[in-house]
C-alpha cells in the first residue's frame, strides 16, 4: 500500500502561519496608537472597579453578601453560610488577592453581559445570523487563549487589560448561545399574542420573549460567570495578580495544599457570585417591564 494512502501526503502544504505573523507584525507596528487608546479606555474602567472594591472594608463586603443573600433567598441559614464562606477567604489570608481577582472577574462578567446578551437576542432573531455566529462562538471557545493572549499582550501590554479581553472572549459564548436558545424556545403562541396586540419587536422582546426565556438566559449567565472565573489562572499567566497568581506560585513550588487553598477561595467566589447574580436577575425580572 503506498504511503500516501495511510499518512497524509506531506507534499500538500498550506502555510497560513507566515501571513498571520505578518499580519500581527503589521498590527503591532501600524496600529499601536489605536490599541493604546483601547487599552487606556479599558484600564480606566478596570481601575475604577478595582478602586471601588478596594474601598469596601472587609466587614462591609461580608455584610453586603449577608444582606443580599438573605433578601434574595429569605433564608438566614444561607445568608450565614455564604458570609462565613467569604469570611473564610479572609481567614485563609487571601483577602487582598481576592479583591484583585474580584475586580477582574466583575469587569469581565459585566462586559460579557453587555456584549453577550444583546448579541444573543440578535442571533435569536435570524437563522442566517445564527449560522454565521455559531462557528465564531465555537472559535472563541476553543481557540486556545494563549494563542491570542501572547499577541494580545504584545499589542496591549501585560496585565489586566488583555486578561479581561481574553476572559471576555472565552466567557461570552455561553451567554450568547443560551440567550438565543432560550428566546427561540419561547412558545410561539405567546409571541403571537404579543404581536396581535401591537407590540413592537422591541416590546415583544422586552415584555415577552426575554422574561419567558429568563430561566435559560440565567443558565447562560451562570455559565459565563463560571467561564470567567475559570480564566483566573490564565489571566495570571499574563501578569494579573490575585488568586490566580497564588495558584501559579504554589504550582511552581509544588505546594498542592497551598494551591488548593487558593483554588477553594476561587470556588467560593464562584459560588457566591453565581448565587447573587441569579438572585439579582430573578428580582430584576420584576422591574423589567417599566
Amino acid at each position: 500500500m503506498p504511503d500516501w494512502l495511510i499518512a497524509f501526503p506531506s507534499s500538500i502544504k498550506l502555510n497560513i502561519s507566515d501571513p498571520i505573523d505578518r499580519f500581527i507584525d503589521y498590527l503591532i507596528t501600524e496600529w499601536d496608537a489605536f490599541f493604546n487608546s483601547i487599552t487606556n479606555g479599558l484600564r480606566v474602567f478596570l481601575n475604577s472597579i478595582g478602586y471601588v472594591i478596594e474601598m469596601i472594608p472587609w466587614w462591609l463586603l461580608i455584610a453586603i453578601v449577608f444582606v443580599l443573600t438573605w433578601r434574595m433567598s429569605k433564608k438566614i441559614g444561607k445568608a450565614i453560610l455564604y458570609s462565613l464562606l467569604i469570611f473564610s477567604i479572609g481567614a485563609m489570608g487571601l483577602w487582598e488577592l481576592m479583591n484583585t481577582t474580584l475586580s477582574i472577574i466583575i469587569a469581565s462578567v459585566i462586559i460579557s453581559i453587555i456584549i453577550g446578551f444583546p448579541t444573543g437576542v440578535l442571533v435569536s432573531s435570524s437563522d442566517r445570523l445564527d449560522s454565521i455566529v455559531r462557528p465564531i462562538l465555537d472559535t472563541m471557545q476553543t481557540m486556545p487563549s494563549f494563542v491570542y493572549l501572547i499577541p494580545a499582550a504584545m499589542l496591549l501590554g501585560l496585565g489586566n487589560v488583555p486578561a479581561v479581553l481574553a476572559t471576555t472572549i472565552y466567557a461570552v459564548p455561553p451567554l450568547i448561545r443560551l440567550t438565543s436558545h432560550g428566546i427561540r424556545q419561547v412558545d410561539r403562541e405567546v409571541i403571537e399574542a404579543a404581536t396581535a396586540f401591537g407590540s413592537t419587536k422591541w416590546q415583544s422582546l422586552i415584555k415577552v420573549k426575554i422574561p419567558q426565556a429568563m430561566p435559560t438566559i440565567m443558565t447562560g449567565v451562570n455559565q459565563t460567570i463560571m467561564m470567567a472565573i475559570s480564566m483566573v489562572v490564565t489571566g495570571s499567566m499574563i501578569g494579573v495578580t490575585g488568586l490566580g497568581q497564588e495558584v501559579l506560585i504554589s504550582i511552581n513550588r509544588l505546594q498542592a495544599g497551598r494551591g488548593f487553598t487558593a483554588g477553594i477561595a476561587i470556588v467560593i467566589m464562584a459560588i457566591v457570585i453565581d448565587r447573587l447574580t441569579q438572585g439579582i436577575i430573578k428580582k430584576g425580572e420584576a422591574f423589567i417591564d417599566e
Partner: protein, 394 residues
C-alpha cells in the same frame, strides 16, 4: 344598510396555503382541484381558499364550520398574524397588506384585538398584567391601565384573581383572561376565535350579553368564530359557513335557517334551537276570519261558517284589534242574549312580529285561541297558532 362606507372590513379572494410548493398548489386549486387532492399530490394544506366577505361596522360577523375548515386561519389573516398567500384585506377601504410598519402597529393597537382559541396567555405575568398587556404596549400609564384592567376583570367575573398566576386558573378562567385582555384594549374590531368554548352556560350568557351590549352601545364590530350554532344565530348579524377552506353560505341567521344552501348546511345547522332564530313574522298567518265590529253578528257568523272556524278576530275602524268573537257567542248575540260589545273577548294574547318563537312558547302552550300579532298601533297583522309554533321548532 349596505352602504359602502359602512363596510369596515372587506376580505377579497383570500387564500392561505401551508407548506412548500405553494405555486403549483395554487395552480391546482385554480384549476378546480379540491383540498384533499392538493394535499395528497403536493403536501400543501389549503387552509383558506378564495374567501371573500364584508363586515359592516357595528355588526357581528360569525364564522362557523367544520373543525379544520379554516376559520382560525381567516381570522388570523385579519390582523396579519398570518400573511395571506393571495387576496386582499381592506380595513376601511385600505389594504392592510399595504400598511407600513407603523400603520400596522397602530392598526393592531387601536383598531383590532384578538381572543385566541388556545388563549395565548403569558405565563410570566399575573392575571392583571395579562389583561393590561395591550394597554401597556400602547403606552397607557400604569395606574390608568391598572384601573381599566381591573374594571374588565370584574366584568368577566374574575374579581379577586388579579394577582394569581395563570397556572393557578381553571380552563374557563384562563379563557376569560383572554377575553378580558382583548376587551381592555377597547378596539374597533374584536376578533374572537371560539371565545366562549370553555365557559359554562351562566358565564357564557353573561359574556354574550356583554358582547352584545358592547356592540350596540359602542358600535363595535365583531368577527366571531363559534361551534355553537345557537350562539352563532343568537349573536350573528351575518353568518358564514365554511367548509374545506371555502365559504359555502353566507347570510343572516333567519335566511340561513330558512333556506340552507345545501344539505351540508342543513345538516350543520340541524341542531340549532330554531325558536331562537325564528321570529313571529316567520310563522304568522293571515287571520282567516277577521270581522269589523260594525259588521254585526250575522255577518260574523256567516264569515265563520264560510271559513269553517269557530272564532273570529274583531277589529275596529283602523284595523286596530279589539278582541275575539266565538261562534257560540255570536249566536247568542243574534238571539239577543248579549250585546256584541259584551260578547267580544277582549282579554286576548297579543305579540308582535319580532318576538322570537322561543319566547312565545309558554304563552302559546296555555293559549286557548291563536295568538294575535299586532304592530305598534295595535293593528292586527296576523295570527300564530299552536300548530305553527310547534312546526317552526322542527
Amino acid at each position: 344598510m349596505n352602504n359602502k362606507n359602512n363596510i369596515i372590513l372587506e376580505v377579497k379572494n383570500l387564500s392561505k396555503l401551508f407548506g412548500k410548493n405553494k405555486v403549483p398548489a395554487f395552480e391546482m386549486i385554480k384549476n378546480g382541484s379540491d383540498k384533499r387532492e392538493v394535499a395528497k399530490k403536493l403536501g400543501v394544506t389549503v387552509a383558506v381558499n378564495d374567501v371573500s366577505f364584508q363586515v359592516e361596522r357595528g355588526k357581528i360577523f360569525v364564522l362557523i364550520g367544520l373543525s379544520g375548515s379554516g376559520k382560525s386561519t381567516v381570522v388570523r389573516c385579519l390582523n396579519l398574524l398570518q400573511k395571506p398567500t393571495s387576496g386582499d384585506i381592506l380595513f376601511e377601504g385600505k389594504s392592510i397588506l399595504s400598511f407600513d410598519k407603523k400603520e400596522l402597529l397602530e392598526y393592531r393597537r387601536y383598531k383590532v384585538s384578538m381572543v385566541f382559541q388556545s388563549f395565548g396567555l403569558m405565563s410570566h405575568r399575573n392575571v392583571l398584567e395579562n389583561v393590561a398587556y395591550g394597554l401597556e404596549v400602547r403606552g397607557t400609564k400604569k395606574a390608568e391601565r391598572g384601573n381599566r384592567a381591573r374594571e374588565i376583570i370584574k366584568l368577566v367575573g374574575l374579581e379577586g384573581w388579579e394577582d394569581k398566576s395563570i397556572s393557578q386558573l381553571s380552563g374557563g378562567m384562563r379563557q376569560r383572561v383572554g377575553i378580558a385582555r382583548a376587551l381592555a384594549n377597547d378596539p374597533e374590531i374584536l376578533l374572537m376565535d371560539e371565545p366562549f368554548s370553555a365557559l359554562d352556560p351562566l358565564v357564557r350568557s353573561d359574556m354574550q350579553f356583554e358582547l352584545l351590549s358592547l356592540q350596540k352601545k359602542l358600535n363595535k364590530t365583531v368577527v366571531f368564530i363559534t361551534h355553537d350554532i345557537n350562539e352563532a344565530f343568537k349573536l350573528g348579524d351575518m353568518v358564514a359557513i365554511m367548509k374545506d377552506g371555502k365559504i359555502i353560505q353566507m347570510d343572516t341567521p333567519e335566511n340561513m335557517a330558512a333556506n340552507p344552501a345545501n344539505e351540508y348546511v342543513e345538516n350543520f345547522i340541524n341542531s340549532v334551537d330554531k325558536g331562537q332564530i325564528y321570529s313571529v313574522k316567520h310563522i304568522m298567518q293571515t287571520p282567516s276570519c277577521m270581522i269589523r265590529i260594525k259588521d254585526g253578528a250575522n255577518n260574523a257568523l256567516k264569515q265563520m261558517r264560510d271559513n269553517s272556524v269557530s272564532s273570529a278576530y274583531v277589529v275596529g275602524e283602523n284595523l286596530e284589534l279589539i278582541g275575539i268573537l266565538t261562534i257560540d257567542d255570536a249566536m247568542r248575540v243574534r238571539t239577543g242574549e248579549i250585546s256584541i260589545q259584551d260578547a267580544i273577548i277582549r282579554d286576548i294574547l297579543t305579540t308582535n312580529e319580532d318576538t322570537l318563537v322561543s319566547d312565545l312558547l309558554s304563552v302559546a302552550a296555555s293559549a286557548k285561541y291563536p295568538i294575535a300579532v299586532v304592530d305598534e298601533d295595535n293593528c292586527l297583522k296576523g295570527i300564530v297558532s299552536k300548530a305553527a309554533v310547534l312546526s317552526s321548532l322542527v
